[in-house]
Symmetry: C2
Subunit: 330 residues, 2 copies
């Protein structure tokens, strides 16, 4: 009897699902709108329906489903199977997600933060596969990370480790939502890059940026800045150089503290590709200590499916390969 797992990536807009077989191959992929306005109970009903849908569609029986991996945005208590707080999902506070899903579909279930699930994806099946000491950063609207030490994810005592986006890189820099000043997120997240570009425009200087954004500075995104930089626009290039410098400083610090083998960079901002990677590697080589600067810095491979693939890959590792020590059934 063939064995399968399902990986779910819950987002503010969409729920993505992956059906993965015992060999780690993705067999099917589906997304449904989250309909976050329907509240936690409604959203969890849709998650359950989506799992059943992807199983039915592929003729998978309840006996063949060995486990579910579930990535949830925001603060997650993975030991209790709870969503503690999710700013992009109205009403999500202390929601026992694992228990609510497990009541309807009785298989082992593992839950974690969506960024950590994406990190698991890159670690097990993407740019980090085969390496033990890997740090995976997602440079999206904000910045999140998953830190692997000797093959295991390191989450810290309160599951609050890995907040690399809120390391100070400029002590007098702009104020961040977290209360700190000059966080890495202010320079290297999608939001940070767009806001740096808008400020540079306000200070004057001609740029393609306004044209690319249809004349509206408010519409500038990190993708607009990348596009302009690739077309040789000076102002956009300067913004991206600043991004690379601060990102390089943060990664050099991280390499000095953790001595990883590999750093994997993913998320929307990595649409910039080598435009960002090349100067980041140079800054890390210049600033990290001799052994630590040898860390490889590479682009993520799984794209927008990383979260769902990671959730499925982690469920496969825990519940089919049986490498994990946990068998969580709620």
């Amino acid at each position: 009897m063939s064995q399968y797992v399902v990986g779910i990536d819950l987002g503010g807009t969409n729920i993505a699902a992956i059906l993965m077989d015992a060999a780690g191959q993705t067999r099917s992929w589906a997304t449904w709108p989250t309909e976050a306005g329907s509240g936690p109970a409604g959203v969890i009903e849709r998650i359950i329906a989506l799992i059943k849908f992807i199983m039915d569609q592929n003729g998978i029986t309840a006996q063949q489903l060995r486990g579910i991996g579930l990535g949830v945005p925001g603060l997650v208590d993975s030991r209790e199977g709870k969503s503690v707080f999710s700013p992009n999902l109205p009403g999500w506070r202390d929601i026992p997600v694992a228990e609510m899903v497990g009541r309807e579909i009785s298989v082992p279930l593992i839950i974690d933060n969506d960024v950590r699930m994406a990190a698991w994806g890159e670690k097990l099946l993407g740019a980090g596969r085969g390496w033990e000491d890997v740090i995976c950063l997602t440079l999206g609207t904000g910045i999140g990370s998953g830190i692997f030490i000797q093959g295991k994810m390191f989450k810290g005592r309160d599951e609050s480790a890995g907040e690399i986006g809120h390391v100070t890189v400029e002590k007098d820099g702009p104020r961040c939502n977290c209360g700190n000043y000059g966080c890495l997120e202010m320079y290297a997240s999608g939001r940070g890059i767009a806001s740096q570009a808008r400020e540079a425009l306000e200070r004057g200087g001609s740029s393609l940026l306004l044209d690319l954004a249809g004349g509206n500075a408010g519409s500038i995104t990190a993708a607009t800045v990348c596009q302009a930089a690739l077309q040789g626009d000076n102002l956009a290039r300067q913004v991206m150089e600043k991004t690379a410098l601060y990102l390089g400083i943060a990664l050099a610090g991280l390499a000095n503290i953790l001595n990883p083998q590999r750093i994997v960079l993913g998320g929307g901002v990595m649409g910039a590709g080598e435009l960002l990677l090349e100067p980041v590697r140079r800054v890390v080589r210049e600033r990290a200590m001799p052994l630590n600067r040898e860390v490889a810095i590479v682009a993520a491979e799984l794209g927008e499916r990383a979260g769902a693939i990671g959730a499925a890959a982690l469920a496969r590792q825990e519940f089919i390969l049986g490498e994990g020590r946990t068998k969580w059934i709620w």
Copy 2:
């Protein structure tokens, strides 16, 4: 039959030795001059003689000695029992210290970097005892650290983790020996504090500092700066405030990355006591993420004996309590 271990802290000037009993009590303490000029073979002969001396002096037989812990400055390969390179000890390059000592005294032996041994001291018998997730920093001439995760020391793949002194805290700051700019060491090590004070004097401004240093700016040390600050000297206070700000920024980053329970600060710079601790705690509370800012920041307890106590305490843990998995005999 009572059991004992010996801990050795090798320094550029002195070799310190501790005799510790099975209960973790220090029974005896001795220091001899290193006579580093006699080269690796000469220094190792003195280490062996000192171990024998402290045993004889206390009537300990070879059968009662269960193990030796040995802290060596510079880069150490603890798995191979080697000193890779030690800038303060002439001729120390790829010296098989453990094997050379073990040839003369046939007991299990554990070796590591001196700062990591001091961290073991604080973790097992000092300000970190009873805590699992602890980071111990030594703010001495330079800055070193030992990171404990779930009670185990985390050293990284190349034993090059924990280089917190070389994290960038000011991107355009002064150049460090390591090649980077604006490293934490430039502001919060003994050398960094003294050099910040000298530069502030050069920029003008009256201060007690010159008087305290006997009129010679070259004689100013971190201790002089502390003394002047405690006496209300404005320039010295400003230097110490800058030290606290950068140290707080680095520790907030560390807390955001590692989510520790406790950070223990030791080394000569901590002679400043609350003058430094209080503002450092405030910066960390202001800059770290909610769960991470709850980390306790405390002063080390073991003083200058931390290295030898740590080496002995680690040998006791490994070879008497048998908690370690390693039984290293060379």
